[in-house]
């Protein structure tokens, strides 16, 4: 079950990365200067960090620790 959820979460982020709806516009600007195509992907990067924290928490290959 964990593997399925992890795969779905990774797949969802991969889909969100293809943000064609922001393709031809710069608006809205974040902080008055960052175009949407940039701040959207900055947020995407933070979301990736959160996902990694989740994967480390729930999908960590603990069996490998016996070789430490």
């Amino acid at each position: 079950m964990k593997k399925i959820l992890a795969s779905l979460a990774i797949g969802a982020l991969l889909l969100l990365h293809q943000d064609w709806w922001n393709w031809t516009t710069a608006a809205p600007l974040a902080f008055g200067f960052l175009p949407v195509g940039l701040w959207y992907h900055a947020l995407f990067t933070l979301a990736a960090a959160l996902l990694m924290a989740g994967l480390v928490r729930w999908c960590w290959p603990a069996d490998l620790e016996q070789h430490e």
Partner: protein, 500 residues
């Protein structure tokens, strides 16, 4: 000239760190030289791995690409790397570490040979990995030459800048091995992250504030599209999703995975990796775009005019350095220039990786270690470091292709197509050496073909990396299904919990 002095002082410091690390290690064992004795702590592991992955491509190439193509650069390479690279480290890097630790293996080829019970197929994989790595090392030397030349206002010519960087890198890799390289990379990453933010703020202020810069870009018909992604097709954008798969197949990254003291050290690296990417790439991409408003810098104005006249992208790898020279005070420009130099000098780990591969996969495998001993093996590794550096330097002197294109065309596509080999070896007990051979031959042939095809070649709109990776995966899978498996004993060693 002041910034160049800072950079030269920086080069002296990293040289000292490398030699200091060598003295501290004091050992002669191959594992100590090539893997720092598998003893790196959690923070050194994170910062050094990140520093190893971030190269001239990340700093100079990204801002140069953004200068021509706009904000698309961040999504193309940075945000997708923030997802794919940590996933690879979590699910493949930890397994590499475990296998290396359990069976005393140092290189990916050693793992392939052991896992698939093969010899010469491993040699073929070595040659492919080595051939793909050479352009990446050349990028580092080119970046070093560019950085020193621009930061010194042309006082230090490209050939001398490249020579200085090559000599410094060669020296601390020669003396310090993996431990020296790791500590230098850690220092470099901290330096860039620390002073990068200050320099970005100063450049922003110098250009009249970021809000003003964006407004001017939007109001200029020639630059407004740079704040969108309309210059890039959706299929091309999607193609770049495959490029970060190259990370785990890069020898310097795969070998670096073996240096951690404990597998739990991957946890911090996996979580903080995306944050580090954000901190480095976002400013580089934005400033690359913003450089289109820096028409008070003659070198940049000339680029803009040339681009307008020809309608084609222009070499932009120096735009970040031009901004730095123009808008940041000398000492800050020097410190960030040193930070940029840090990223540029990620070629150190690539040179070391190539040396490690040669001594382990060729010299030791074909009897050199048994015949001449471990001292001779390490001597051979050091000699190889000198030869590779010299080759990279002289090639860089004649290279004319922009850093970004050189990296993407050869190394990224080839290594991304190699990632299925790692998945098959570490995660699939049904994989065979024949599947690996089929994929390796295909990648070799397609990479050579890529060299002769026109730049910008696509397959149904997708960059070559997409079909190359998919066909490589299909070959590993399909051929493995049809060919005999390794012995049950080997499969059991790699997958102890699975029934054979």
């Amino acid at each position: 000239m002041i910034p160049a002095l800072f950079v030269l002082a920086y080069l002296a410091i990293v040289l000292y760190i490398g030699i200091f690390a060598f003295r501290r290690s004091g050992g002669t064992a191959a594992e100590d030289f090539f893997l720092a004795g598998r003893s790196l702590g959690p923070w050194v592991f994170l910062l050094s791995l990140f520093g190893t992955h971030m190269t001239a491509f990340a700093i100079l190439g990204s801002s140069g690409h953004a200068f021509n193509f706009g904000i698309v650069t961040y999504g193309l390479m940075a945000s997708i790397s923030a997802l794919v690279v940590p996933v690879c480290l979590l699910f493949l890097g930890t397994r590499l570490w475990s296998v290396g630790k359990r069976f005393g293996l140092i290189t990916p080829v050693q793992i392939f040979r052991d896992r698939w019970e093969c010899g010469h197929i491993g040699t073929l994989i070595f040659f492919l990995q080595a051939a793909l790595l050479i352009p990446y090392i050349i990028i580092g030397v080119m970046g070093g030459g560019t950085t020193l030349s621009v930061i010194s206002g042309g006082f230090i010519p490209f050939w001398l800048g490249g020579l200085l960087v090559a000599l410094v890198v060669m020296s601390y890799v020669f003396f310090g091995g993996m431990r020296g390289t790791a500590w230098v990379n850690t220092f470099q990453t901290v330096l860039f992250l620390g002073f990068g933010a200050i320099a970005v703020m100063l450049i922003g202020q110098g250009m009249g504030g970021f809000t003003s810069v964006t407004e001017r870009l939007l109001n200029n018909p020639a630059t407004a599209s740079l704040l969108t992604r309309e210059k890039f097709s959706l299929t091309a954008f999607f193609s770049y999703t495959f490029n970060p798969l190259s990370a785990i197949a890069f020898p310097h990254i795969a070998i670096f995975c073996l240096t951690a003291r404990k597998v739990t050290q991957f946890k911090r690296t996996v979580i903080f990796y995306p944050i580090c990417i954000l901190l480095i790439w976002l400013p580089c991409v934005y400033l690359g775009v913003a450089a289109n408003q820096a028409t008070d810098i003659p070198a940049i104005e000339a680029k803009i005019e040339a681009r307008a006249a020809t309608g084609r992208p222009v070499p932009g790898d120096d735009v970040m350095l031009q901004l730095l020279n123009r808008y940041a005070p000398g000492w800050i420009a020097g410190l960030l220039g040193a930070g940029i130099m840090a990223a540029v000098m990620a070629s150190d780990s690539q040179i070391l990786a190539l040396s490690t591969m040669f001594t382990e996969d060729i010299f030791a495998f074909y009897g050199g270690k048994a015949r001449f001993g471990e001292h001779a093996q390490i001597f051979t590794g050091r000699l190889f470091v000198v030869l590779v550096t010299a080759f990279a330097y002289f090639t860089a002197l004649n290279a004319k292709v922009a850093i970004f294109d050189l990296a993407v065309q050869y190394a990224f596509a080839g290594y991304a197509a190699m990632s299925p080999l790692f998945v098959a070896a570490l995660c699939w007990r049904g994989s065979t050496k024949w599947g690996a051979l089929a994929a390796t031959l295909f990648i070799s042939a397609s990479t050579v073909a890529l060299y002769f095809l026109p730049r910008g070649f696509t397959v149904a709109g997708f960059a070559p990396v997409v079909p190359m990776t998919l066909i490589s995966a299909a070959l590993v899978w399909g051929v493995s299904l049809l060919t005999p498996k390794p012995s049950a004993a080997t499969i059991h060693r790699y997958f102890p919990s699975a029934s054979v």
